[in-house]
Symmetry: C2
Subunit: 225 residues, 2 copies
């Protein structure tokens, strides 16, 4: 294979990875903004998050189109094939994170304005750790840092603990004041969406680790409580 062809392939891969990082940036902001909308009962912001989702969908479709064309034309092997495959999987995960953030935005639109600030801030508190997970795993993807990808994968448990604590907290509000049960149910779904976003970050960490090392992160090695 000539240098010219090799470098054209590398350029295509880099452009693909830049597209994915752009997608990641948009999605990261959607997580933060959807939770800000919940915290401050900001309906405009919630609507704005919902409006950003179709762009993420289009970006994923475009990445997929590029990848299918790239595999057919270049027939990549070994590390290159892993890079293309990781790009396909990461963009799919980002699309789902966008979708989950959109759903938080939709629920924010339907909350009773009287929902207690304690409930609102409970959900919003999860946004920080979850969006940081995404930020860190995208850094690992951008820099090809396997150790950083593994670090994200290992700390998924913290998000789960956060979610479990929040779940119990919400139930106590609902038991104390049955009028809050309907909003509490929406809050539980929002918290669940954030926990699932954490799971998607873990999936991304697995794909990034595999891309870089050619090895799988093994479930048994994860420090799980």
């Amino acid at each position: 294979m000539s240098d010219h062809i090799v470098s054209a392939f590398t350029e295509e891969l880099e452009s693909l990875s830049a597209d994915i990082l752009r997608m990641g940036g948009i999605v990261e902001e959607m997580i933060v903004d959807s939770c800000q909308a919940v915290l401050h009962n900001n309906l405009d912001l919630a609507a704005d998050v919902i409006d950003r989702d179709p762009q993420v969908d289009r970006m994923e479709a475009e990445v997929e189109r590029q990848i299918v064309s790239l595999i057919a034309r270049r027939q990549p092997m070994a590390h290159d094939l892993r890079s293309v495959f990781a790009a396909l999987k990461v963009s799919g995960e980002l699309e789902r994170i966008g979708d989950l953030s959109k759903n938080i935005g939709k629920r924010a639109l339907n909350l009773d304005t009287a929902v207690s600030p304690a409930m609102r801030s409970g959900v919003a508190r999860m946004a920080g750790p979850v969006s940081r997970q995404l930020h860190q795993v995208l850094n690992a993807y951008a820099s090809g840092n396997a150790a950083e990808a593994r670090a994200v994968w290992e700390t998924d448990d913290e998000i789960d603990q956060h979610y479990n604590a929040l779940f119990r907290e919400m139930l106590t509000y609902m038991i104390e004041d049955p009028r809050s049960i309907s909003d509490g149910a929406h809050m539980l779904f929002m918290a669940k969406n954030l926990e699932r976003i954490g799971d998607h970050c873990t999936n991304i960490a697995e794909f990034v680790f595999f891309q870089i090392t050619g090895e799988n992160l093994v479930q048994q090695d994860r420090p799980k409580q």
Copy 2:
């Protein structure tokens, strides 16, 4: 291209589609069994559904591996490329349906034995329509029937209505008896999982329709209430 090569490619595609239908069969049974486990508080059956999920994951990984190899070797175009792409997407959707059914099984293990039969049967009632959606869309995939795929896509609204009614029903149980709030929350998540399985069936319908016709089903055309 010689007949020999064409027919080898067709054989590969058929083998891929057979694998996907096998995956679909397992997943369909997981939906039904997880809801039966909820209805009859059958913990063995719930555990059994959970145990089946890794097999579905392995099948998806194997389908992906075959597809990447097939695109690289055969460089399919037009309808063939659409078939390969549909296989990739459909197997991904089936993996997620398996995951959601597993989650219903996990929650079934953690329900209080005292949960009212009305709540249990509320969730179980959704299993019928949802698993029928999956069955029908797999038929459409197997037979290449675009009209049948469209029919599944058009009736997603029924599942949504079913879910919304169930959501309200569960809330009333929770309000009537605050001791049921914790189990009620688990039930809401199970119902939500079933609604999401319905969404995945709709996604499959879109991929199948695109594979057969080369055209997209357009959101605006769906009869939505």
